[in-house]
């Protein structure tokens, strides 16, 4: 079995199984903990409680006016590379074809040249994010192996993807295999680290927002 067959064959299958089971177990792990029932009389109606959750999902996508001066640039950087990643993962023709083979649905993509430009920009933003993490005293203090490895493996996927499309450094088959292998490693790591925030972000905003709305509190 050659490297490419390994990468998109058994390695991918194992990675997907670990990803699915790991993500499920990690979520089940805390949802099975004691659920505290709030016996204090709510200020808000059920409708306001639910609306509070939904509104917070949207409103936390950008800092409140009071915070923009201190956090706007950092958040803009964070969202920019996420948007770049989404564009590359979801709108690149070969990715659409791959996802289509998994889910049976395809959609229109962006031209390859544009994807390349977006990838390079995303890569640049990724480097900026790392620079910020190591130079910002707060982020440096909070950071651990999870932060750096999650950054590294995501970066590796982008770099190998760019190398494969640009045919740089090795035969295309090898580069493609390395790209898929890096995705396999990312999937294997996903349930164990902070990449899980992809699953958490909207429920977390919604739940905390709804709880604050229940009290009529600011959210």
């Amino acid at each position: 079995m050659d490297l490419l067959s390994l990468a998109r064959g058994p390695a991918l299958k194992v990675a997907l199984v670990v990803f699915c089971l790991g993500v499920t177990w990690r979520i089940v792990g805390f949802t099975l903990l004691r659920v505290h029932r709030d016996l204090n009389k709510p200020r808000a109606s059920i409708a306001k409680f639910l609306a509070g959750g939904l509104i917070t999902v949207g409103s936390r996508s950008w800092p409140h006016q009071e915070f923009i001066g201190r956090t706007g640039a950092g958040e803009a950087l964070g969202y920019s590379y996420h948007l770049g990643l989404f564009a590359v993962v979801l709108l690149f023709g070969p990715h659409i074809a791959f996802l289509g083979s998994l889910f049976g649905v395809t959609w229109p993509g962006l031209p390859s040249s544009l994807i390349t430009v977006i990838s390079v920009l995303t890569l640049t933003l990724f480097l900026a994010v790392l620079f910020r993490r190591v130079t910002n005293p707060v982020m440096r203090m909070l950071s651990n192996f999870d932060d750096y490895f999650s950054w590294f493996i995501t970066m590796l996927v982008i770099v190998t993807g760019l190398a494969a499309t640009a045919h740089i450094g090795a035969p295309y088959q090898t580069l493609l295999a390395l790209h898929i292998l890096s995705v396999d490693v990312l999937l294997l790591w996903f349930p164990f680290g902070k990449l899980m925030h992809a699953f958490y972000i909207f429920p977390s905003r919604a739940i905390n927002g709804a709880i604050l709305a229940r009290k009529g509190a600011t959210s």
């Binding site: 177990w25 990690r26 979520i27 089940v28 792990g29 805390f30 949802t31 099975l32 903990l33 004691r34 659920v35 505290h36 709030d38 016996l39 204090n40 009389k41 200020r43 917070t56 999902v57 936390r60 996508s61 800092p63 409140h64 009071e66 915070f67 201190r70 956090t71 950092g74 958040e75 964070g78 910002n136 005293p137 707060v138 982020m139 440096r140 203090m141 909070l142 950071s143 651990n144 932060d147 164990f192 902070k194 899980m196 925030h197 958490y200 972000i201 429920p203 977390s204 905003r205 919604a206 739940i207 905390n208 927002g209 709880i211 604050l212 009290k215 009529g216 509190a217 600011t218 959210s219």
Partner: protein
């Protein structure tokens, strides 16, 4: 029955035979066992972005990363991952998360108590939506169990759960309350049965602002509301809440709950005290184990309701430019943003809001028990500079608030900084401007 004077000031030192290490280990495993799905989800969701630092006045004033709000629960995140998370066995097996040590936790006492007002401003900035303040409150519970609550808070909580008042006094608060009534010429309704409202008072008001106590009684008398103070449930504050002593918090709340039930009150009225409101309105029922058989209202929301119903009429207060300090626990975390403003508007007050106001206001710096912690004073004063600047920038001559702890914190600032503004009670202002009160 009043508090027996002999109990006040009794020896409150707890019997504790375990070593610090054993006590910390017990507290951390207790934390992990009791964490619950919601707090676990909050800990799981943190992406280490550090943005919460930019909402915290302790960080903003010092630029010291240790004051990053989510960092204040770092040992607890460590304990959760090691003891209760989905991959806890893996973390333990591979040694990826070490046990929290007594030394480590002792270092965190400064972060969880001296440098956190539990004001909740950090909970508004997190892009993941995490309520960091709720995590900090839970972490304080574990600190208490580990024997690491600051002595000032511990002693007051111990005293209060035992005697009903957080510290000894020359005369029991019941007698003090009656003396305040006599001093200000207002009837103090005491130990009446079958009333609409049960009243309680901040001990801060009893000790420092007796006019606020008289104002509460005067306004109720003016409204003709059937109400009473109760000798066995007088103090609004809950030092168990501050210290993290959940069992003591329950006992302290229970005094008020039992008294409200005994006098068949339909409403327990919380005076101008932010954390007392939080403890009674948003936590007491959980600790009591069932929904409370009465409503809990903060005095400004009650009075705003009376205003809207046409039962309270206020005359214009000639104050000139005025600003208002929003108490975090009742405004940001408690949802009472409009009520104080409606009351000020009814008195024709020319309100000049601070740059950060309403739900986004900075804490006075004394909340969460910080005002009581002596060693925290230098840091607290440093964080207050920004707040005082915001107040000065409004150009207001008068400065109102509706929290006695905020008031006392600013009084302290006035002395420390030789600052010229004196915080005034919104309730006292209302009592002075009742239409038809003959004042």
């Amino acid at each position: 029955m009043s508090t027996p004077a002999g109990i006040v000031g009794a020896n409150l030192a707890p019997a504790e035979n375990r070593s610090p290490e054993a006590r910390v280990a017990g507290a951390m495993s207790g934390f992990a066992r009791e964490i619950g799905a919601l707090s676990a989800f909050r800990l799981e969701s943190c992406i280490h972005c550090g943005i919460c630092a930019d909402a915290c006045h302790f960080y903003i004033a010092t630029e010291d990363p240790q004051y990053t709000p989510i960092w204040k629960v770092e040992p607890f995140k460590q304990a959760y991952k090691r003891e209760a998370s989905a991959f806890a066995p893996l973390f333990r097996l591979l040694g990826l998360k070490r046990e929290v040590t007594a030394d480590q936790l002792a270092q965190w006492q400064h972060l969880l108590f001296d440098s956190c007002n539990m004001c909740g401003r950090c909970s508004l900035i997190c892009p993941m939506g995490i309520d960091v303040a709720a995590l900090i409150e839970q972490a304080r519970h574990a600190m208490f169990e580990a024997g690491l609550a600051p002595k000032e808070l511990y002693q007051k909580a111990a005293h209060q759960q035992l005697t009903g008042q957080p510290e000894s006094s020359a005369e029991p608060y019941r007698e003090r309350l009656l003396a305040i009534g006599a001093q200000f010429g207002v009837d103090i309704p005491l130990d009446k049965p079958d009333v609409e409202l049960m009243l309680c008072v901040p001990r801060t008001d009893i000790e420092h602002y007796p006019a606020a106590v008289a104002a509460l009684a005067r306004v109720m008398q003016h409204l003709g509301v059937s109400c009473t103070f109760r000798s066995d449930g007088l103090v609004a504050e809950n030092y168990g809440y501050y210290a993290g002593g959940k069992a003591w918090q329950r006992e302290i709340s229970r005094r008020l709950i039992d008294q409200a039930i005994a006098c068949k009150a339909r409403v327990l009225l919380v005076p101008e005290c932010g954390h007392a409101y939080a403890a009674l309105r948003w936590e007491a029922a959980d600790l009591y184990g069932k929904p409370l058989p009465f409503r809990v209202l903060q005095v400004t929301e009650f009075l705003a309701d009376q205003l809207h119903a046409g039962r309270l009429k206020l005359r214009a207060a000639a104050l000139g430019a005025t600003t208002f300090q929003d108490p975090c626990e009742s405004v940001r975390k408690g949802g009472i943003n409009d009520a104080p403003r409606a009351l000020m508007k009814a008195m024709g007050i020319e309100l000049h809001e601070m740059k950060n106001h309403g739900g986004f206001s900075f804490c006075c710096g004394g909340g969460g028990g910080v005002l009581d912690i002596e060693r925290a004073a230098p840091l607290r004063h440093r964080t207050m500079e920004n707040k005082l600047r915001e107040i000065d920038d409004t150009g207001a001559k008068t400065f109102l608030t509706s929290c006695s702890d905020c008031r006392r914190t600013f009084d302290d600032a006035q002395a420390h900084f030789d600052w010229q503004k004196t915080p005034q009670s919104l309730l006292e202002l209302i009592a002075d401007n009742l239409v038809g009160a003959g004042a």
